[in-house]
Subunit: 340 residues, 4 copies
């Protein structure tokens, strides 16, 4: 069986496992106040070159729900309708008391015209107050934002006094995509708050939340603790992020996933299989017919995104651990299918 | 520097690191539906011999806040005033909407007479409805409950239709204490819900929540997800618990911590230093004077529990990783102090 | 100045004021346990002819947020996008922790095809669980549901095990509309829970929540108290509802508002002014041009619903207190305008 | 049957009923933006002589839960253990996510030494952050704070940067007590936020919340709406408070209740019946034996506060509506009892 189900199906990059093994029996203080966490914070700060607070958390939903909890209860976050916080977090944001206002999406990216419409529609005390914009980069459909996009979005946020929060669960893949024109400094520059994803880029687990806007900084550790989001052995997060940003491992892993996806994408294209959305990161969405689906479904693990009449939009994901052999094996499967 | 600060100051037992390393690159499905998590569940169920659901979570506060979220909003949990949920979870339980009603404690154990008083005081619609009793075993003061205690508590819970929830962050240490007369089957028998702690007993992280009462089982995974409490790479939890319950590693590690604590306890006793509370698990609470405190504080890491006039109640904790050498080194420090 | 701004712009029906005055100095017990509240409950139960619990609350948003709080945290309520709980309650439902899933609307009524699509899309533990359908009758656009509609909706709710909750803020107007084919018994028959609105139908304030489904009944008074929703002088609610259901005052007042709206509607139609939506209750939505708007805006109070290029959809509302003179005065204003 | 059960057992003062009747059919805008609410705000501001925002709410628990919702989620409110928010609001404060930290009480008043102890005990990120002190004046035991008390409390609040919030459900009775040395201006001067109670002082319902501290003012109407705490016909609150502060009706009613309580208190004292607590407001707490209790319980409505062996602490409450005849009738009952 081949696995292209997601980018968290394996454990972690070997460098990370080595770091964890090497430090395993050193005693440290807990809760992220250890020397490794501090060094990882310092390292990331030096890369971002902005005044910020950094907190390490275990997973994406946890990070999003903590981040969005900085809002006042009557304030809402705006996400495009395909956004992770709107669909796939089991109501985590609403549980914190905040409404998720949705906009249309264009290939998984926020429709800025609709955004401005939604902001201005909320105008009296009987409605929530839009206060934060949430986007993910790369998006849930594997597309990425450009520098021009973020400039435009920042202007809208400034105009209406909204915070911009970027979910970087797959930031490595976004920043190493061929068509990307953003740097991590740009992200830090445009966003009020964002997170750098580890879980989907070769860490065992872990996300680094960067808080730049001073209004959002106070007492964030208390806020995390109250949501069960401070890891006792916080060092595990520090060690992993320190390793990820050593020798650019973070980018190397992201780039690798993208490269493997490129090869996979080409295999589909070779057989004239169309893609539901054009992108150049590690998620691909081929549109296949039911016959092909039946042929491959017992040979490969992947997800069905959507069923459209006789066609299926499916999702293949590559990871830091995807090998050239696995891609070749998949090519062989397709080749066999088309032989007949 | 010696470290007796807590039982999560090191990484994990070597057996666990080996298991994680060995399985690192195997692809599995996420969110705890993998074969390792399933095997760990099956293993624990076989030990408990009750019909139950098992969920693996990352940390203690997270587990407690998810577990207590099974209550209806107007229902309250009762904890003794020293209980972890009352003091050290930054209001996590209240954030879920539930009042924590407190009882007196007797050496860290719940005062059952006060418990019954508190239950019966809540009698009209202007008050919360007591619905769950929370205890920890071993307690925050290192003491343990006896079989007779749990029998009595179960009777009270049955009388007033309350759920009994046992926080087992340090269950291994409780069950391997010299004076213990409970088995893990007994725990499963008396409790409606309890958790088996990994973080404080040699896992990198992880707690196994056991839900026995059928009323509390439905949709618990949704409840976890909504609180950011489902680990993407759920296998990491499954692998760790499978290893912990292989060859009784769980008990071996707990017993080791207790044994190291016994030795440490004797060292204090040897110098006529009294203990704030008598117990036989891995937390000890010597009462030391300020001079001794000044002498050792730069040589050993530990916590101050309470300052009483000229005396300090301090806390020393041993772990799965505490070595005989460390204990000896500490003995030498004390010996040096008393030489003069 | 004429007022057609809303149906809560005046105080209360004279019969209600008389009842309040007459009973003013009688001492009663508080919180809705008085003889008037009990009599009002008994009266309403006799009209509904179903086994139910009845609770009196002060206002609509309060009633909705209490009613929807019966859900488990991970359960969601489905409303059409124009629903009051989605738009005009300042995030009250989300504050209770519940996501509001939205469907399309057809003239303010729920699109049942879209409803079924939204239900079935929610299928895994990463998503909320749809558990309640919320509709309002009459709707926010003044339209009403038919018996056939409710039959169909009930079937969908039964199929997917959803509760049906009907917001009856303007139930009197719905049940007395010309095209209506439902009785209050039908409402009680189809719904698991619904409320009978007083505030918008001649009471000073007050809504009567009817809970029919046994699963939703337990401890509802506690749930209300916890949300600040139990009025100390609960008698005020009991007295008002007792008066409303004495001699069918409830229906008389609703019918009166509808009749005044009919007259107002005809005045607009006479001048070929189109209506944004066809309905026969007490809210009318003429589409007027900017010139007419400028002419009347200082003579009449009303709301702007939506601006469409050169046209404005405005909202005129009649109430229990609207007089024939007021309608005539408005006719004169329009007549003057069209004279030129 | 005589009624001394509480101070909200009757409707309202005749002046208030007259005002409501007189204005009943005037159309006004909703939600507290009407001319009566504005006039009431202006009137109260002129009496307080501080820069403040004023919001009218329906009841006490609703007011408390809205007021305390200004806190950040990880911030806690401190109340003495007898405080209304701790005991009698069904967990309303916890439902908003905030822990209620309790201090000892001295005759229902906060023990300031214990307060400072509780504040300083909360010192790390694993604990909630104390941020607001809640007191009620008069207290739940009918006692009142002095100017010296509030000076001292203000100093503690300033020292630790805490907000002081005063629950004035029975403020009229406190300010008109014989031993009182505070004015309403003093209350406004010492508190960051407080409310002036109407429900327990002759209004049908209603509390006026005064927000002085600028940090607590923004978007409070949104916060209220989200909690279902904005009355549609907000005028009802404005009219009542305008009437209460016209010709000092507020004080006249409070004074009347106190005077009636004085007479009642003397009747008990005459028969050597001791009081559980000494106070001079409208709640009295005689300690009676079971025989007396049995004699009067079918002749008078009152509450049992506490049962102590053979004695009962009972509570008698007088109101704006209590008459001299009622007091005399009660005197006759006691006289009859002691005759035998």
């Amino acid at each position: 069986m081949l696995y292209f189900k997601n980018d968290y199906q394996e454990g972690c990059a070997k460098e990370i496992l080595e770091s964890l093994t090497k430090t395993n029996l050193e005693p440290t203080v807990g809760y992220g106040f250890d020397q490794y966490s501090q060094a990882a914070e310092a390292k990331i700060k030096s890369l971002l070159d902005v005044d910020c607070d950094i907190h390490f958390l275990v997973g994406g939903t946890q990070t999003n729900l903590c981040a969005i909890s900085v809002l006042r209860p009557y304030e809402a976050v705006i996400s495009c309708n395909t956004g992770h916080i709107n669909v796939h977090e089991a109501g985590a944001i609403e549980l914190t008391g905040h409404k998720v206002i949705t906009t249309n999406n264009i290939n998984g990216k926020m429709d800025f015209i609709d955004l401005e419409k939604k902001i201005t529609e909320h105008s009296d005390i009987h409605m929530v107050i839009p206060k934060m914009v949430y986007i993910s980069n790369s998006t849930e459909l594997g597309t990425i934002y450009t520098k021009k996009d973020l400039e435009q979005l920042r202007k809208i946020c400034d105009k209406y006094k909204l915070y911009l929060y970027i979910d970087g669960a797959r930031l490595a893949q976004a920043l190493t995509a061929k068509s990307n024109d953003l740097t991590i400094k740009d992200i830090a520059n445009y966003a009020d708050m964002f997170y750098i994803g580890g879980t989907k880029n070769g860490a065992l687990f872990g996300e680094a939340l960067i808080i730049k806007n001073n209004e959002l900084k106070p007492h964030f550790k208390n806020l995390m603790k109250q949501r069960g989001a401070i890891l006792a052995k916080g060092r595990l997060l520090g060690i992993q992020f320190l390793t990820l940003f050593n020798n650019d491992l973070f980018y190397t892993l992201g780039k690798h996933a993208n490269t493997m996806a490129d090869e996979l994408r080409n295999i589909f294209t070779k057989y004239k299989i169309k893609h539901f959305v054009n992108n150049d990161t590690n998620q691909i969405f081929p549109i296949i017919n039911k016959e092909l689906y039946s042929y491959i479904k017992d040979k490969v693990e992947f997800e069905i995104q959507e069923i459209k009449d006789e066609q299926l939009v499916v999702r293949f994901v590559t990871s830091f651990a995807t090998t050239k052999e696995q891609v070749k094996d998949f090519a062989a499967i397709l080749s066999n299918y088309y032989k007949y």
